[in-house]
């Protein structure tokens, strides 16, 4: 079977221009193939931007409608964890960019190292997110039947946050119930972001195994490059999530 395909290829090569094995036959050059794949990846990322954009828009509108509830609810988030996660994700974007550079220069061990670092930093991000989600679970701040508004109608009942924001006034029950909407959007946005991270980490594990076998350092960098675009996109989403959810409602 493999012999016959080899012969068939040998015949075809005689009548066509030569090209590396990873170049698809219908492309004139490898650069052309790479550009086409790059273009497709960007189109995909733009649909992703529109998707997250809808969530951001909903957040901005509801924040303006139920401003006191959104301010009080955002005080439940810990800026330390948010900053740490920003740090982890930005650094992982850097290691990913370095991974692409290693692949371009055909440095196999460097590529494996960069991908592994990106993998670990991504896991670290999800670990921090787990700590944060767990706290929301314990305080009954996950929207649903067991949602509790006690931190907002009676701030003193939540001493941890009350000490950090002593000026927070108790909300009326009517307004306090809108904090559930904040947490709904919080979990929708950070949850969708985390899903993208998990998908990215799974692909990274696959890429690390392939890179160890010598893939991507043969001159065929398209896959690493486009995965890098995806990873940086996930980073950009977080760059906007962090200030909008954690920072802008401190006062």
């Amino acid at each position: 079977m493999s012999d016959s395909t080899a012969i068939a290829h040998g015949k075809a090569d005689a009548s066509h221009h030569e090209h590396p094995p990873y170049q698809r036959h219908h492309f004139e050059t490898y650069a052309q193939q790479n550009d086409a794949t790059n273009f497709a990846m960007w189109l995909f990322l733009l649909t992703e931007i529109m998707f997250f954009g809808g969530l951001f828009t909903a957040y901005l509108i509801y924040r303006n409608w139920y401003y006191p509830a959104f301010v009080a609810a955002s005080h439940q988030l810990d800026i330390f964890w948010g900053s740490l996660n920003t740090l982890l994700l930005i650094t992982s974007s850097f290691t990913m960019a370095m991974g692409v550079w290693c692949a371009e220069l055909r440095k196999k061990s460097g590529l494996v190292l960069c991908l592994t670092l990106t993998f670990i930093l991504g896991l670290g991000f999800l670990g921090v997110k787990t700590v944060e989600y767990r706290e929301k679970w314990e305080k009954h701040h996950i929207p649903g039947l067991h949602y509790s508004v006690s931190s907002f109608v009676d701030p003193a009942s939540d001493p941890e946050v009350h000490d950090k924001y002593p000026k927070d006034q108790p909300l009326s029950l009517d307004m306090a119930r809108h904090t559930e909407l904040y947490f709904f959007l919080y979990f929708a946005m950070t949850g969708m972001h985390a899903v993208h991270m998990i998908i990215g980490i799974v692909i990274l594990a696959f890429m690390i195994a392939r890179a160890q076998a010598g893939a991507y350092t043969t001159g065929h960098v398209t896959f690493v490059e486009n995965f890098g675009l995806y990873w940086h996109f996930v980073d950009i989403v977080w760059i906007f999530l962090f200030p909008l959810l954690y920072l802008i409602s401190r006062h």
Partner: protein, 108 residues
């Protein structure tokens, strides 16, 4: 038969390898931006708090897109695609927000 490819006047874009020095500079800029946005959030600037936070976030995003995502060194097609995409995105968000913020303001 490499002659078929049309010599130096090719349509394809030459693959540019971005130097790690640039990546390190961008990493530092992003870290400084993060520190700056956290620091700014501790100062009460009234309505300017969200504006400053979003301005810093946009600057960081542009740095990531241009350098980490190689758009600065990409083909005109990629540049146009990214530019058109973000423009459409801003139109969609801008018009939606303009609609909500000018209609029934304070009457929900």
């Amino acid at each position: 038969m490499t002659e078929v490819q049309g010599g130096p006047e090719q349509h394809e874009h030459e693959h540019h390898i971005v130097s790690p020095v640039i990546y390190v500079i961008i990493l530092c800029a992003l870290l400084v931006g993060t520190a700056l946005t956290v620091w700014a959030s501790f100062i009460d600037l009234g309505p300017f708090n969200p504006i400053i936070a979003l301005a810093i976030a946009c600057t960081k995003a542009v740095l990531v897109v241009l350098f980490f995502m190689h758009v600065k060194y990409s083909s005109k097609l990629t540049k146009l695609t990214v530019g058109a995409g973000f423009f459409t995105f801003l139109v969609l968000i801008g018009m939606t927000l303009a609609d909500y913020f000018t209609r029934a303001w304070g009457r929900w």
